[in-house]
């Protein structure tokens, strides 16, 4: 499996996706300082604490990584299996399901790690600057990060699970746009849940749905004719 994952890395140009993670990270840094400044710009109680800022930025980050996951799944799976390239992929003497699994593990790992690294950079930088020149007046940032850590982890898994559901729908319709739009549409209600309990419930439902759909996808690929 590791060898197949390494081959995915070798044959695909992942620079655009690394740049996307960098772009998302830069945007989230911008959003973090923007939301932290909101109470200073307007007389509002919103975003008055570190936890408020972290929660809203983490939701935006989840939405961004959902789209990245859908785009990567589309490139690594739908484009490979929907077009004539499938002939090449199916000419290797390797179980088709193992090749598919390698692609999925690679993309899931990339998106998950990308999300965690991105958030670490964003909140790490914010933590650093808040020590020297604080913007937010209430709360302790490190406590807020600790409180939001589980939620961020749940959201990182959710981004991958929603991307996988989008992948299945895109694969079913043989369409990259369907995969991306499905991920965006699914991401919207989940982003508005707010409550950590609802997020965990959403993750459980999305994970079960993704697991079932992946089973169907693997079977389809195994029986595919090109």
């Amino acid at each position: 499996m590791l060898k197949l994952i390494r081959l995915e890395l070798a044959k695909n140009d992942i620079r655009p996706y690394l740049l996307a993670v960098l772009g998302i990270t830069a945007a989230m840094i911008g959003f973090t300082y923007f939301f932290a400044e909101v109470p200073n710009m307007e007389e509002t109680a919103e975003f008055g604490t570190y936890l408020d800022v972290i929660l809203v930025v983490s939701v935006l980050s989840m939405a961004s990584f959902c789209v990245l996951a859908a785009v990567m799944f589309s490139r690594f799976v739908i484009s490979e299996y929907a077009g004539k390239r499938a002939i090449l992929l199916f000419s290797y003497p390797i179980d088709r399901r193992r090749v598919l699994a390698a692609k999925l593990v690679f993309v899931c790992g990339f998106v998950f790690a990308g999300r965690l690294i991105s958030d670490t950079v964003v909140f790490g930088l914010f933590n650093l600057t808040e020590r020297f020149a604080p913007i937010v007046r209430e709360g302790v940032l490190s406590d807020a990060i600790r409180q939001a850590a589980l939620l961020i982890l749940v959201e990182a898994f959710l981004a991958v699970a929603i991307g996988l559901i989008g992948l299945f729908l895109g694969f079913w319709r043989k369409s990259v746009p369907v995969a991306i739009v499905a991920a965006v549409v699914l991401c919207c209600p989940v982003s508005n849940f707010g409550s950590p309990a609802l997020m965990v419930a959403a993750l459980a439902v999305a994970a079960i749905a993704a697991a079932i759909l992946l089973g169907v996808l693997a079977s389809r690929v195994d029986k595919m004719e090109v």
Binding site: K3, L7, A10, K11, N12, D13, K84, R85, I87, L88, F90, S91, Y92, P93, I94, D95, K223, E225, V226
Partner: protein
């Protein structure tokens, strides 16, 4: 000689449309089998069925004594192929594409890559990306990819597409050498009679999904001393069947 590829009562339908009907062909070990047919006759479909890319609606296929349906991976390990247009990872060089292909097949080796590139007349150490290759260079690279792991069987679907006359002659020489010196069994499809005539030991003709004939070249030449073209055109257009 033993048959390395055998199809038995092979049929394939897409929906209601039957595109291959009761096709029985037999390719002997080490021979070059020329598979002739007009465009749309079913040549590519038969090659896809042999390599497990399609499943038969009826009948079965044996490759090297293995039932393709039950031993897909084992059969694929014995085959090198170009089916339809060879596709590559465009942002990589020819050598990088071949190294990835070898790795998927379970091999590693720079020597094999250099050897395969040299055999098809592509530069060994070029960093040129495949996206800048001409059609002829792509076809050469496709052939290099098909032969790089020294397969027992080569399935080549219209392999001379895009090659210039000198390239066609080089490929002809390469295929003959692979068959003669290395005992590779080669099934080559084409709609160009003269091309098949130059290399094949046996000719099979398919028309509208039905095998019209399967005859050793020597017997055909004996039967048609004035040239094969008219006879084969008749067969390819389905106008007559040969025993």
């Amino acid at each position: 000689m033993n048959a390395v590829i055998e199809t038995h009562s092979l049929s394939k339908a897409f929906g209601d449309k039957e595109v291959i009907r009761d096709c029985g062909l037999s390719v002997k070990k080490g021979e070059i089998y020329g598979f002739l047919g007009a465009n749309g006759a079913g040549k590519t479909t038969v090659l896809k069925l042999i390599s497990g890319l399609l499943r038969p609606t009826l009948g079965w296929i044996e490759v090297a004594g293995l039932d393709v349906a039950a031993n897909r991976e084992a059969v694929l390990a014995k085959i090198g192929s170009i089916i339809e247009v060879p596709l590559f990872y465009e942002h990589l060089s020819a050598a990088e594409n071949l190294r990835i292909h070898l790795a998927y097949l379970g091999f590693e080796g720079r020597a094999e890559v250099a050897d395969a590139l040299a055999r098809v007349g592509l530069p060994r150490s070029s960093d040129q990306k495949v996206s800048t290759f001409s059609l002829g260079m792509r076809q050469r690279l496709g052939i290099a990819r098909a032969i790089i792991h020294r397969p027992e069987i080569l399935l080549l679907d219209e392999p001379i597409n895009g090659l210039d006359p000198a390239g066609i002659r080089e490929m002809r020489g390469l295929l003959k050498a692979l068959s003669r010196d290395e005992g590779v069994t080669i099934m080559i499809s084409s709609h160009i009679i003269s091309e098949i005539e130059h290399v094949a030991d046996t000719i099979g003709v398919i028309a509208d999904g039905t095998m019209m004939c399967q005859t050793p070249m020597a017997a055909l030449l004996e039967e048609c001393p004035d040239g094969l073209e008219d006879h084969l055109i008749d067969l390819m257009s389905g106008r007559m069947a040969h025993a």
